[in-house]
């Protein structure tokens, strides 16, 4: 086979440039191990003390056609001296196993002028004329667009080590990246053993050779070298993705039963629990469908073992009737919705924050419930623990909204210090107090204590029908009115225990950006960018969506404008036929307008990608440049 011409040796001229952060991508066809390579490299960076955030680039199909722009599979790794809270804006360096997969990334705005592309060059010599031509065209086009393309014989170099270069080159890339960014080679070799150890010494040795070869290859062939120094604190650090954090949170909450049905992107929680749950005495039930999953969980909850069901948008829709029942019957239950693109089947592998209103209002009638949204991977862990305690204390279902960005993003955070009270205690089996009603509502807070099967003297029937304090079916006017009031008051009671959130950046100014969920890091970074430009912008992030944290109207009142930034659909104010009355606004914006009577604006998108700080900053600049609408009234 014709060997591609080698690149000039440049190592002698290289000077290692220190930087605060870098963003690296590896993109490939599906099945070439790009994600494993990125995770391995990210872990090496984390172990060296960098802040790290990785996000997977996932095609919807398991095996999309090779060399297709839509089939791009890969990973982005953002690593920095300081903690990293989001996936950032533009990649600085890209390793690509073919040129076609770059088209989609370029269209998504993933790269900037000068982004360095290390491109597999074997397609230049491909036996098929069509492949050779499309490769040449692509390289020309990428260069014309301002990318710095370095064509490299990656696979040929791997073939010196292994006949299976297609699957082996991912570890070769780990070696290259470690060399380019001055990572410790031994750390990389250790990581290969940690990742592949189960597959035996032979596999480990082969992959370590590939790492070494990639290291040497980069030193010879890549004329750039950087370093990203690290600051390491005393506290031990953990590294995981959001779904693993949910799984660990379930263990630490003491919940013993999770019932779920496979659905992207929630499923990987079940993979984690399938392995880890039995050791803490827990059981993962894979139900026959989404409805059975929540029914099974609710049965366990009713019997005194507060349980959890995990799903994504389409599954949440199917669970609606049981969610309403749990609210009506005042049963504790934790429902985790890992949101993906909608509507309907939508974008199964991609991010959206489109289920907020469905979580709040999906059921017929008034069904108050608690809805909370972790903003970071670390919070995914803690919010599950919080959810169980709220569910039991307030005798209510609690919906936890995460999303595909948190689910597949991998980040570092301080190792949690476990607390015994996080873990559910034993089921109360003491005799039920004589004469105490099963719904002995406190008239102010609506709170009551729940009899648990096995408690002698507490026998009662839960029903989704209107019922009295005694749990007896009642169709009279007073009983239903009272029941609805009591269930509603619980939310006000919970809201009264919360503290007002703190704005990021400033307590007053021109514009307040309000967000929720996984957009926290990108929004705050955008605010920092804007404040560095002397713009009076701040942000506020909400963790409680039902009930809201208090004091929002006061906080909003200190800003000339308030605008939500959300990953769900809204009409652009400039869209045809849109006016202030008929414009369909983003979901949190709708809620905030109703709760605060402030004319809350919104900027949102449903492109299936997490926001980068730069695009948020640009959106804020554009809105600031537009004439301010009147704060109240017909704006």
């Amino acid at each position: 086979m014709a060997r591609p011409s080698p690149q000039p040796a440049v190592a002698a001229e290289r000077r290692r440039v220190p930087l605060g952060e870098r963003i690296v991508e590896i993109v490939s066809d599906s099945g070439e191990g790009a994600q494993k390579a990125g995770q391995t490299f990210g872990t090496v960076c984390a172990k060296l003390g960098n802040g790290v955030w990785t996000v997977e680039i996932i095609p919807a199909e398991i095996k999309p056609p090779a060399r297709s722009p839509a089939g791009a599979s890969g990973i982005r790794v953002r690593f920095a001296t300081r903690p990293v809270t989001n996936c950032g804006e533009h990649a600085d360096l890209v390793v690509a196993f073919n040129e076609q997969v770059l088209y989609g990334r370029i269209a998504n705005g993933a790269y900037r002028q000068g982004t360095l592309v290390l491109l597999e060059n074997r397609w230049a010599e491909d036996p098929q004329e069509e492949v050779r031509r499309s490769y040449r065209e692509a390289v020309e086009q990428f260069r014309a667009q301002g990318l710095e393309v370095l064509e490299l014989p990656l696979e040929a170099a791997c073939k010196e080590i292994t006949g299976e270069a297609r699957v082996g080159k991912n570890m070769f890339v780990v070696g290259m990246l470690c060399e380019i960014f001055g990572r410790d080679l031994d750390k990389a070799l250790d990581e290969v053993r940690a990742v592949l150890g189960r597959k035996g010494d032979e596999v480990v040795a082969l992959n370590q050779d590939l790492v070494r070869r990639g290291w040497a290859f980069a030193a010879e062939s890549v004329p750039y070298a950087w370093e990203v120094p690290s600051e390491r604190g005393e506290r031990p650090i953990v590294v995981m993705n959001g779904n693993q954090a949910i799984g660990l949170g379930i263990l630490a909450s003491g919940m013993e039963l999770v019932a779920m049905y496979p659905i992207t992107p929630a499923t990987s929680v079940s993979h984690y629990l399938g392995r880890a749950f039995p050791a803490v005495g827990g059981f993962l039930h894979q139900a026959e469908d989404e409805i059975a999953a929540i029914g099974f969980a609710l049965g366990a909850s009713w019997a005194g073992k507060t349980a959890c069901t995990i799903t994504s948008g389409p599954g949440l829709a199917l669970k609606t009737e049981f969610l309403g029942f749990a609210s009506m019957a005042e049963l504790p239950l934790v429902v985790i919705d890992v949101q993906r693109g909608g509507p309907s089947t939508g974008l199964p592998t991609k991010v959206e924050q489109g289920d907020l209103l469905a979580a709040l209002f999906g059921e017929p009638g008034d069904t108050p419930k608690v809805v909370i949204a972790p903003a970071t991977i670390e919070e995914c862990f803690h919010f599950v623990i919080l959810a169980r305690r709220l569910a039991e204390e307030f005798r209510t279902p609690v919906v936890v909204l995460t999303d595909a960005n948190l689910a597949t993003g991998v980040s570092t955070f301080p190792r949690p210090r476990l607390e015994p009270q996080w873990i559910a205690g034993p089921v109360d089996q003491s005799p039920w107090p004589d004469g105490l009603a099963p719904f002995d509502w406190d008239p102010v807070s609506g709170l009551s204590t729940r009899p648990i099967p096995g408690q002698r003297g507490g026998e009662y029937v839960v029903t989704g029908l209107a019922h009295t304090r005694q749990g007896k079916v009642a169709y009279d006017a007073e009983s239903n009115q009272e029941g609805c009031e009591m269930r509603s008051r619980k939310l006000a009671a919970l809201g009264g225990t919360l503290v007002a959130p703190e704005p990021h950046g400033a307590a007053e100014g021109e514009m307040l950006v309000v967000g929720w969920g996984s957009t926290l890091g990108a929004i705050e970074e955008a605010v920092d960018i804007l404040r560095a430009e002397d713009r009076a912008v701040a942000s506020l992030h909400l963790r409680f969506l039902s009930p809201f944290e208090p004091g929002l109207a006061d906080i909003f009142g200190r800003f000339r404008r308030v605008m939500t930034v959300e990953l769900n659909y809204s009409d652009d104010p400039a869209s045809p036929l849109a006016n202030a009355e008929n414009r369909r606004r983003a979901q949190l914006a709708q809620l905030l307008r109703e709760k605060t009577l402030v004319d809350v604006d919104c900027w949102s998108a449903v492109r299936g990608q997490p926001f980068g700080p730069g695009e948020i900053a640009q959106a804020v600049r554009a809105r600031l440049a537009a004439p301010a609408a009147a704060r109240r009234g017909a704006a």
Partner: protein, 317 residues
């Protein structure tokens, strides 16, 4: 110290339960509804088994039959239409100490909840599932159900039901891992009692198909068999539903049927002119999901904490 070892159980004053201990108040079914017979059989079985009321979990869906938990003095879960089986399985999964009964109907179980019917059989958790079959939707006022006889006029099919009915016992016998299927009738309380008592003693999911008259919408649907006991075939076997002399005197046509014989069970269940009652099939060896779901019940906080710390170690760098 001399004498017997200290036994705290001896300090608990002995409780003896009478029928009144299981009485949940006046049942509000239509007068002469077949459900009364079922309620009274279940209360007797609970008394005879001396199950503490607080250990009884009565789970139901929606429909006339599903009002059942309200009329028992026990813990009850009157849930959603079609969904009692997942709830009951969830209850049993982590509370193996509770005795779980399910009251469901031909619409609740075999129509809106049919998917769970099959899977509950497959899970084979330790439950009694009573399928009240009155051949009609009663609570919503006479719509066609999956067991409505062909040609019977209903409010949704005034010209008569278009499709032949499904046979609940026969269908259940087709499900994977099914471990217990019996049939009885509301008009023979002795046989009904013995059938449900046999179901309660079985460890696994016991499906009992109960032909039950609706006095309002299907009062005559079972007349053929009620008026002519010759058309009923009483299944007898030493491992089947015990039939006392009273039952044997009524149902003179009898067949010795070994409940281990699944092929014969399916043949007997599928007969129409002859209504077979008794135990069709029982397999005490069928795998039980509840034995897996309840592993680890009762681990202490301390045991869990130590394991979670080890789990965090795996993520610590």
């Amino acid at each position: 110290m001399l004498g017997p070892a200290h036994d705290p159980a001896l300090e608990i004053p002995e409780r003896y339960f009478t029928l009144e201990n299981y009485d949940g108040g006046v049942a509000r079914w239509c007068p002469s509804c077949g459900d009364f017979a079922i309620l009274s059989a279940v209360q007797k079985i609970c008394r005879d088994r001396q199950v503490p009321p607080e250990k009884l979990a009565m789970i139901s869906g929606i429909g006339c039959s599903s009002r059942f938990p309200h009329y028992m003095h026990a813990y009850g879960f009157h849930g959603l239409h079609g969904r009692p089986l997942p709830v009951a399985c969830g209850v049993k999964s982590r509370r193996p100490d509770l005795e779980v009964w399910v009251a469901t109907g031909d619409g609740d179980c075999c129509s809106i909840g049919a998917g769970h019917w099959l899977h509950a059989a497959r899970y084979n958790m330790d439950l009694v599932v009573m399928i009240f079959d009155n051949s009609v939707y009663g609570l919503t006022k006479k719509q066609t159900s999956p067991t409505t006889p062909l040609g019977m006029p209903t409010n949704t099919h005034p010209q008569g039901a278009i499709l032949p009915p499904l046979n609940i016992a026969e269908t259940t016998l087709g499900f994977p891992n099914v471990s217990f299927v019996a049939r009885s009738v509301d008009w023979n309380p002795a046989h009904l009692y013995q059938t449900l008592a046999t179901a309660a003693a079985h460890r696994g999911t016991s499906f009992v198909h109960i032909l039950q008259r609706c006095p309002t919408y299907t009062p005559n649907v079972f007349d053929e068999w009620r008026q002519n006991p010759e058309l009923t075939l009483l299944l007898t076997h030493e491992r089947g539903v015990p039939a006392d002399d009273v039952v044997r005197r009524v149902y003179k046509r009898q067949a010795e049927h070994d409940p281990a014989d699944l092929a014969a069970a399916r043949r007997l269940a599928s007969m129409h002119e002859q209504l077979a009652i008794g135990l069709f099939y029982r397999n005490p060896e069928a795998p039980r999901y509840d034995l897996a779901t309840s592993v680890g019940v009762g681990l202490t906080r301390e045991q869990k904490l130590a394991t979670i710390e080890r789990e965090l170690d795996r993520f610590t760098i």
